[in-house]
Symmetry: C3
Subunit: 314 residues, 3 copies
Amino acid sequence: MRLNRKDILGIEDLSVEELETILSTAESFKEVSTREIKKVPTLRGKTIINLFYEASTRTRTSFEIAAKRMSADAVNISVSTSSVVKGETLKDTAKNLEAMKPDCIVIRHSSSGAPHGIAGYVGCSVINAGDGNHEHPSQALLDMLTVREHKKSLAGLKLAIIGDVKHSRVARSNIYGFTKLGASVVVCGPATMLPPGIEALGCKATVNVEDALRDADVVMMLRIQLERSKGADFPNAREYSRLYGLDDVKLRKAKKDVLILHPGPMNRGVEISAEVADGPYSLILDQVTNGVAVRMALFYLLLGTSREDAPKAI
Amino acid sequence: MRLNRKDILGIEDLSVEELETILSTAESFKEVSTREIKKVPTLRGKTIINLFYEASTRTRTSFEIAAKRMSADAVNISVSTSSVVKGETLKDTAKNLEAMKPDCIVIRHSSSGAPHGIAGYVGCSVINAGDGNHEHPSQALLDMLTVREHKKSLAGLKLAIIGDVKHSRVARSNIYGFTKLGASVVVCGPATMLPPGIEALGCKATVNVEDALRDADVVMMLRIQLERSKGADFPNAREYSRLYGLDDVKLRKAKKDVLILHPGPMNRGVEISAEVADGPYSLILDQVTNGVAVRMALFYLLLGTSREDAPKAI
Amino acid sequence: MRLNRKDILGIEDLSVEELETILSTAESFKEVSTREIKKVPTLRGKTIINLFYEASTRTRTSFEIAAKRMSADAVNISVSTSSVVKGETLKDTAKNLEAMKPDCIVIRHSSSGAPHGIAGYVGCSVINAGDGNHEHPSQALLDMLTVREHKKSLAGLKLAIIGDVKHSRVARSNIYGFTKLGASVVVCGPATMLPPGIEALGCKATVNVEDALRDADVVMMLRIQLERSKGADFPNAREYSRLYGLDDVKLRKAKKDVLILHPGPMNRGVEISAEVADGPYSLILDQVTNGVAVRMALFYLLLGTSREDAPKAI
């Protein structure tokens, strides 16, 4: 099986069928990472470039491990050691990398739309690993996979996304994804963190955390950028935590079998209490495990041959 | 086939026969990067260390991809994360790396001659990936390969190299290479960028860009280091561009079927106009593609067994 | 064969039998790095993460090469490009990495005990690649292997460790290791560099370098951190060198067939003279070669299957 597209740039672009295909393929690849020999030969001889213009442990490592478990060659380029400091345009960087005949470029960039630009310049596949405040599709896919494992279907679920929605590409991708699969999404945060018009994406918005949490099936807490607290977005970490931080008390508003997600890295005691992060409803580490499976699936569906379907190819 | 030498330190050292062998081998390896499975087992179990004391996207990535497509293990060491900050001598670093039994050390260093020093200290192969203002042999080889693909032979061609010749290891390696293969070379730039005595390398030198371009078969534009413009080398980017930047008007002096090269990264609008860079005569991306093939060939000719010749080994 | 433990955190924890097993296994793996094809398939499909919170050339490179020669997938994470700058706790970083299903995490950290913390959080193997002033077990193992190659047994030997003992994890691990295997250890340095109570580890301590060197079978020089000379630890490099630097004159106090070790990187002319470093008694480069073998052995003994013993598995 193979997706009928070259790139994964955002959840907004993906059809329900494509989402289902990716999630099902990821489920089948998840087993590979539990084997004694965690490696399949599927993408041997493929070259995957991880082009990261922003620092990242978990995302870059997850893509790199996914590539290697598929037997692809992974090459990392990080901005701090790269010639982009020399002022080359993004287009020239893209065309130059393409000339080395990679099969896929995974890109993280601080500018929204940078991966789309690159995808238009190159013939190889491009995966958006996070662009500005725009999208982070592989994160949303792993979030959907994690919920689907526990709820079978996303249809009819209520997802509450709480925190700095305005600066969150994770929120944006998840709004697209969960609503496409039939869930209802409410975003919540201080007014300064709710972008005007966010409802146009298909979600509700509220500053009232109790409203957001009420009867929620899934709660996704967003990371607070503490370094932004000097601006006007929020008064300070303690005040933010008191109003919007998820703790056992606030959580009582949600459903009994609520699921807790967080994209990481967490600020424990700020947006999420340690009790909740480590509690029985938390799927935060499942998300990370599923991240590798989702990325293996994306590589497979973009780069694999069309002759075989996923389970056999494994 | 195998070169009868341990190291590739500069084009100055290579015989015409060696140049021809490298270029022919590179041609045969070029096909590997166009395959569905871009990998040959030739150098399995070989260890290649990329030791970069200067930042680089394209050169380090090109060597790394070349190593991996040959199935060698590639290990990257960049100065920013290395213990060289602790003041160890280059010799001790070299001897220590050698003690880990690599088959090849690829080194880029800001000091001219550093790779030669290392090559004298270690028993394994050393490839100079750029040393100070001295040489960058794999760049010149990919330039020669690119021209040869279009002109069959370099003999009798006129190559114009335009820009900051004084600080360019690319210029120096290409002067050696193109003259050895029978081309005539003229270097051109403001007087401040033409090193005294450059003609001793076998080229002509001129400050007159029209003279340089007249009837040129190949024009190689050099990158201007804008950060140097505060010194005395050139007044400013606009003035430089007006006098020495390659645009469609200046290009009319060259032959009708002129080929345009640039080692990258380009300053569009400074040393080269976008029209020329993206125009029909530009081979700038072919250079990058050929870079991988040339580096595969160098690894093969230095590290491969002598029992097989290149095409069969592939 | 396989060690009956999950982690290698320090020499202090290891029994004599375990030390002997590791050293014997390392001896058998040493031959792999001398082959034409320096690679065994033993750990194919295993994922090894090198998590370095401190810069390092030789140790990280040695672990990476060891992993690759065992056919494991190696993933490097260095602090400068990692999200630990975002303030995530070490525990969360560990749990997140574990969720990606690595088989081993190799960690270097400036805080003593950090690897022990991580080992307690994760189910996979953890190898301490140096923690604060505490331990550096793979370094001590390669030191023991190097001496054993020349002296057959460590029992009855006198080891002198000279330098900044107080800040040296190398010294601490070697005191544990050499005394366990029957050697006597004396540490020596200015009083400011000898931690009070060091004798409790089973060694003697002296400020008199002649006493330390007298009849020594092995002399291990420690690196002086020149950047500490502004503090009170020692007056200046020249004075330190005169009093404690190892040169041919001081070396006459030791046995005729003395062996010289240094963990690197060396400050030539400070703690060790060039004559001694490059002289006939120096095993400094043997140490580096043995480092790869020791790390291959550790990976094998922690991650390999229990069905085969080392020599056959190779």
